[in-house]
């Protein structure tokens, strides 16, 4: 059923269906030709080469497809693993605590190595060649029992607030009251017991082949009875040479079985960076 509206619409449809525009101009075909050249519509169908070109140096072997699948999967797995490893490294770097160098320099001065070397000499005048320092010391139970009780140094908490991961270790200095290089040998008749390391291991009684400290036994004064406030006389030892000190220290370090390594910036139980964050 045609309405007045449909009449003109049908007329429009029929008119446009038969309508033809003017032929294309040279510009229109030029634009089309450029498009054809740009899109590289094949002037002749390009056939895929049946075999690799003669000059192609690498010829892939004709393997069955499962082999190719396995090979490609292996390469992908390797790439994934390498990528994950790289990602872990990157994440660790991102999680690293930034070092506040300004704060460290301003608040915590760098701790110098403290050389507090103690020489323990037994009754015969032979040095056991023990060297103790702040970070490493020798616990000599037997000698401590026979000598004056020494103050204990608790290194588990050096300055309060230290880490509590290690068990408390009590270190006994042999003669804390005297100078580090002027320790007299024990005048008791007890044989020198083998020094025991603080970790409970007993060191062999044979002293390491360190140079014996030179002092004259004949110059030892007559022993006086211990009556009350007897104070053992101190012997002045000739100071060891630098070479002797170095050798002794090397020997001590070679014999030690446990070292307490104190970080150089470790102070008050906190690293400066952590302290600043907390």
């Amino acid at each position: 059923m045609s309405t007045p509206d449909n009449n003109w619409e049908e007329h429009w449809r029929d008119t446009l269906a038969e309508h033809e525009t003017s032929p294309p101009s040279a510009m229109d075909w030029g634009a089309m030709e450029e498009l054809l050249e740009a899109k590289v519509v094949p002037a002749s169908p390009i056939k895929a080469p049946a075999s690799a070109p003669a000059g192609w140096p690498l010829k892939l072997p004709a393997l069955p497809w499962p082999v190719w699948v396995v090979a490609i999967a292996s390469v992908l797995a390797l790439g994934y693993w390498l990528g994950s490893q790289t990602a872990v490294g990157v994440s660790q770097e991102m999680d690293a605590v930034p070092k506040n160098t300004n704060l460290a320099e301003a608040v915590t001065p760098p701790v110098d190595t403290v050389i507090d070397t103690l020489y323990i000499v037994d009754a015969t005048g032979e040095s056991t060649n023990e060297v103790a320092s702040i970070g490493w010391a020798v616990v000599n139970k037997s000698s401590s029992s026979s000598t004056q009780k020494s103050p204990e140094i608790n290194t588990s908490n050096p300055a309060g607030g230290g880490p509590s991961t290690s068990t408390p270790v009590h270190l006994n200095r042999a003669e804390p009251k005297v100078g580090s290089r002027d320790i007299a040998p024990s005048t008791t008749s007890e044989p020198a017991a083998a020094p025991e390391l603080f970790d409970g291991l007993r060191r062999p009684n044979t002293a390491p082949s360190a140079p014996a400290l030179s002092y004259d036994l004949s110059s030892e004064p007559a022993r006086r009875p211990n009556r009350g406030g007897y104070v053992r006389p101190l012997r002045t030892l000739s100071p060891p040479t630098d070479r002797e000190l170095l050798e002794q220290r090397i020997d001590a370090l070679s014999l030690s079985e446990k070292l307490i390594i104190v970080p150089i910036r470790y102070k008050n139980g906190h690293f400066p960076a952590y302290r600043s964050r907390n």
């Binding site: 008119t15 446009l16 229109d28 089309m32 899109k39 519509v41």
Partner: protein, 188 residues
Amino acid sequence: MAYSADKSANSLLLACRRGDRRAQEAFYRHYFPRLLPICMRYLRNREEAVGVLNQAMLRIFQSLEDYREEQKLDGWLATIVRRTTLNFIRDEGRARRRFQPESYDPPASVANAAPGQLNAEDILKLLQALPDYLRVVFSLSVIDGLPHEEIATELEITVAASRWRLSKARKLLRGHYQSTNRINESLL
């Protein structure tokens, strides 16, 4: 080898399939006048329509291998041209700009005649004066005869929106001619 319009379409198609550039030119020149009006129904002006038609021709040359002899060539070509044009219109960036309500300003150079007596040039002028979002729906519905469901699918709009746009386009065109008739009656 020169190709003329009287050559059979099959020989022209075979030459175009081989990629003969002269055959492609003959094909282009032969079908250009028939296919360009399809683009002009949907687009604003001739320049834009020629650009889209060239894109459609490129697709035609690339798809000649898929053409089957039993198909009607004109219908096959018109389908490619219309789909290329709609793809161009449906482009997201253009669509956002185009499918905004615009004022209808009919061309003054249209012949002062009844709608059922207009020639093709004037019809195209009136269509191109319509806002884009109305012109496309009107052309698809009235000229190409597509149902609203297909129009909604093609333009990614709702069926109700398609109906509303067609009604709006008809109202604008009818209003234009009513005002024209009133002017004519006053002149008479």
